[in-house]
């Protein structure tokens, strides 16, 4: 099997994407992309429209089955290459490792990517439960932890004290996130009534209520004004700081990407063209060429002009 990406040699990975390809009929949406998202880091995937960013996301979160490739997610700590190869060869979707556990996301159905591997995601076009209240949205997100004793838990049916305690815990968690996103006052309003920026933050809070180890955000800043965008940066940094959650995000808004991400992966036409820290990527002639639409040999000139 291929070794992990050399760029990420020093970083502890949470997610290793290996030779990921996705074809839709004759169209190759993602072509042999490999990268690593570091534990406790914010990794950004950027690229022009149609570069295959959302396809990569849908493969990671189980909504698409990749044509080829391996998506390894590590709980606890990175697995050794031997452990990774052993699980891959076993044909199972997951295995225990010395550090914790290892999940091969391409082998899991979408809801198990969320519930077992604990990868949460948001959507480019917001997908809230608009007819349910803000609070209900955050409680639905805790479905898996609340149904650990079964879908028709007798304690819940009879409303026993043990269930009430569990329910109280869920409410406390929902309240914590309402406080984080500043929507306590609107807890009892339908989610569909919220302004756009609030809906974006609510979707992130809802994803965080599933206790994810990896949070995938699909264009979280799309359609936000600068003030809302700054609030979003604050929220994402606080998630990275206070929770044991790594973040993978797709973004067009360069202020978000450059301010908060630790690592940037650039895609173009389904291929990876750059991978590194924000500064490295910003100065990469290929990236400048792809973003500004110039030939590579002219890139140096452009670079000088923009003063990057």
């Amino acid at each position: 099997m291929a070794s992990l990406d050399p760029v990420a040699g020093a970083r502890a990975p949470i997610l290793a994407v290996d030779h990921l390809s996705m074809r839709f009929g004759g169209l190759i949406a993602v072509n042999d992309v490999s990268f690593v998202a570091g534990r406790g880091e914010v990794t950004a995937v950027i690229g022009p429209n149609g570069a295959g960013k959302t396809t990569v996301f849908n493969c990671i979160t189980g909504f698409y089955k990749p044509t080829t490739g391996r998506l390894a997610l590590f709980h606890g700590g990175a697995a050794t290459p031997e452990e990774l190869d052993a699980v891959t060869a076993s044909g199972l979707a997951w295995g225990r490792t010395a550090a914790g556990a290892l999940y091969l996301l391409e082998r899991l159905p979408d809801h198990k990517v969320a519930s077992w591997a604990r990868v949460a995601r948001t959507f480019q076009n917001i997908r809230l439960f608009s007819g349910m209240t803000v609070l209900e949205n955050l409680l639905v997100a805790q479905h898996m932890s609340l149904t650990s004793a079964g879908l028709l838990n007798p304690a819940a049916l009879l409303n026993l004290p043990s269930w009430k305690r569990q329910q109280k815990g869920a409410m406390d968690k929902a309240l914590y996130w309402l406080n984080q996103i500043g929507l306590v006052e609107r807890a009892d309003d339908p989610a569909g009534d919220l302004p756009y920026g609030d809906q974006r933050r609510l979707e992130i809070a809802r994803a965080m209520c599933t206790n994810p180890v990896l949070l995938c955000l699909d264009e979280p800043a799309a359609g936000l004004n600068p003030r809302e965008s700054a609030a979003l940066n604050e929220l994402l940094l606080s998630i990275r700081r206070d929770h044991d959650t790594s973040i993978l995000l797709i973004e067009h808004d360069m202020s978000v990407v450059m301010e908060i991400s630790d690592h940037v992966v650039v895609l173009e036409y389904g291929c990876k063209i750059a991978d590194g820290t924000p500064d490295e990527v910003r100065n990469d002639p290929k990236v400048i060429a792809s973003y500004l639409g110039v030939e590579e040999d002219e890139a140096a000139v452009v670079e000088a002009e923009v003063g990057a």
């Binding site: 809801h111 209900e136 028709l152």
Partner: protein
């Protein structure tokens, strides 16, 4: 500056948008407060009513005049003699009155000038009223349901004459329960099910087959005494009927899990028909179209309702009356319906119920949160089907005869109409719709006053027009309240205050 007389202004010489103002004080340009047109004055209340009444009288008179030759005179054949003439002035007057009253009502409400047209997403006044009355509505509804048979006995003057009314109550409550059962599938989980009657049939046939089974009867006769199975079969078969119906719900659920919308509806429709056709054609088991008869009647928890010495009446010191059984049946179905409602309320506050509603709102978001949508859909199908099975067993013990005739697509359509008319997801709405639809249909049989001589005459059969009136009523309700009687959704949990969610935000699902 003095304006020239209006007639002298050549067309087009005025600035667009400003009307010629004659007595404008000089020095005040147009557009300042002095020149502003007076604000529109709300029409005087008296004048609105006055003009509405005038309009009503005029239109009533016009109708009368128009209909006088058309409806008022009628040529009749009297034997072999010449054509005779009959007069139907009463009917003309009735039509004129209908037109006058309708115009009066419309003029005062819908057509009223300056009436605020409601847009926005706030819950309507009706929904707000329902929400305000909701805490009182449930107990009131429940107490009325308990008192209903006694009221019927009091008002109709005796046990036997009240039979019609108690039977009607049982009939309506059966549909309330079926509506609440289907409401779980359609209203909460948003899965359009056109074959709900299949589970009703499974429940009814389960009870019918088990209670008339000879080996079972002999088995229990040998161990627990003769007559045990006859006396207890309903109470023992009721849970079995529910469980089997739930099992069939899961069987239906598996193939339709991938389907959405119209496709889901077609497959559930087909499933309902398959069950009915199997019941017709599997003659060796179900006795085919002839059905299963002589199903044992319900017992008062083992005490039979008969005139024998150990019957219900003798044991409790009452005079025997066949109505005791009917009233008991009423309370059994009331209990089953209340059980359905309570379980649904409880489930809605549990993760599984919230997952159903989330599934209706957005299935993809559900999966991204780790909710197993397959399992969630199956539990919705199974829970809904279970209550259908309970209702089926009750149907069999009430009628004491089942045949495939009772489980046609029409039944599914009526139950679905109850759920849609009531407002998907709302229990009070569904109960109201069942009363309106089933009770109202039944009440339309009692239109014999239309046979009066001054109306349509004794040859007129009003019950023929029942379905027509009913159809018009359905259309009217759906125009007036497109999302059902109670369209707003009450959240299952709240932090400070429970606010109804407007129907425009709640999705309908169907996938």
């Amino acid at each position: 500056m003095v304006h020239p007389p209006v007639a002298d202004i050549p067309p087009g010489s005025l600035p667009s948008g400003s009307l010629p103002q004659v007595d404008v004080p000089s020095g005040v340009p147009n557009g300042l407060p002095g020149a502003a047109p007076p604000p529109p004055v709300a029409p005087h209340r008296g004048s609105v009513i006055g003009s509405a009444v005038t309009d009503a009288i005029v239109s009533g008179l016009l109708t009368g005049l128009l209909l006088l030759p058309l409806v008022g005179f009628r040529a009749t054949e009297s034997g072999s003699g010449p054509l005779g003439l009959t007069y139907r002035f009463g009917l003309v007057a009735v039509f004129a009155a209908i037109v006058a009253v309708l115009r009066l009502v419309l003029n005062l409400t819908v057509w009223r000038r300056g009436r605020k047209v409601k847009t926005g997403t706030e819950p309507s006044a009706f929904a707000a009223l329902v929400q305000k009355a909701a805490p009182a509505l449930r107990p009131a509804f429940f107490s009325f349901a308990i008192a209903y048979p006694f009221l019927a006995i009091l008002l109709s003057g005796g046990l036997s004459p009240s039979r019609y009314w108690v039977d009607l109550g049982i009939y309506v409550l059966t549909y309330v329960m079926l509506g609440w059962g289907l409401n779980i599938v359609v209203g909460l989980a948003g899965l359009l099910d056109l074959g709900y009657v299949a589970f009703y049939a499974v429940g009814a046939y389960t009870f019918a087959l088990l209670s008339t089974s000879v080996p079972l009867n002999e088995f229990f006769a040998g161990h627990l005494g003769e007559g045990f199975w006859t006396a207890w079969s309903f109470w023992l078969c009721l849970p079995v009927s529910g469980i089997l119906a739930a099992f069939w719900g899961v069987i239906l659920g598996f193939p339709v899990l991938r389907l959405r919308g119209d496709y889901l509806a077609i497959v559930t429709l087909a499933f309902g028909e398959i069950i009915r056709l199997v019941l017709i054609n599997w003659v060796s088991l179900t006795n085919g179209g002839a059905g299963i008869s002589s199903i044992p009647p319900i017992s008062f928890f083992g005490v039979p309702f008969n005139s024998s010495d150990d019957g219900f009446a003798a044991r409790y010191g009452l005079d025997f009356d066949s109505m005791h059984r009917i009233i008991f049946l009423y309370f059994v179905i009331l209990g089953l319906a209340v059980l359905t409602a309570l379980v649904t309320i409880r489930l809605r506050q549990m993760p599984v119920g919230r997952a159903w509603e989330a599934l209706r709102e957005d299935e993809i978001a559900c999966r991204s949160l780790g909710i197993n949508t397959t399992l969630t859909k199956l539990t919705a199908f199974a829970t809904g089907a279970m209550f259908g099975g309970f209702a089926g067993a009750f149907f069999a013990v009430r009628v004491r005869f089942v045949s495939p005739e009772s489980f046609t697509f029409m039944e599914s359509a009526v139950i679905l109409a109850i759920v849609v008319l009531g407002g998907m997801g709302s229990q009070m709405g569904v109960a109201g719709a069942a009363i309106l639809l089933i009770g109202g249909m039944e009440m339309l049989r009692n239109l014999s006053f239309l046979k009066a001589d001054f109306l349509f005459g004794p040859d007129f059969d009003p019950s023929l027009y029942r379905m027509l009136i009913f159809g018009f009523a359905m259309v009217a309700v759906m125009v007036w309240r497109p999302r059902g009687l109670v369209s707003s959704r009450l959240p299952t949990v709240f932090l400070k205050e429970r606010k109804a969610v407007s129907a425009s935000l709640v999705k309908e699902g169907h996938g």
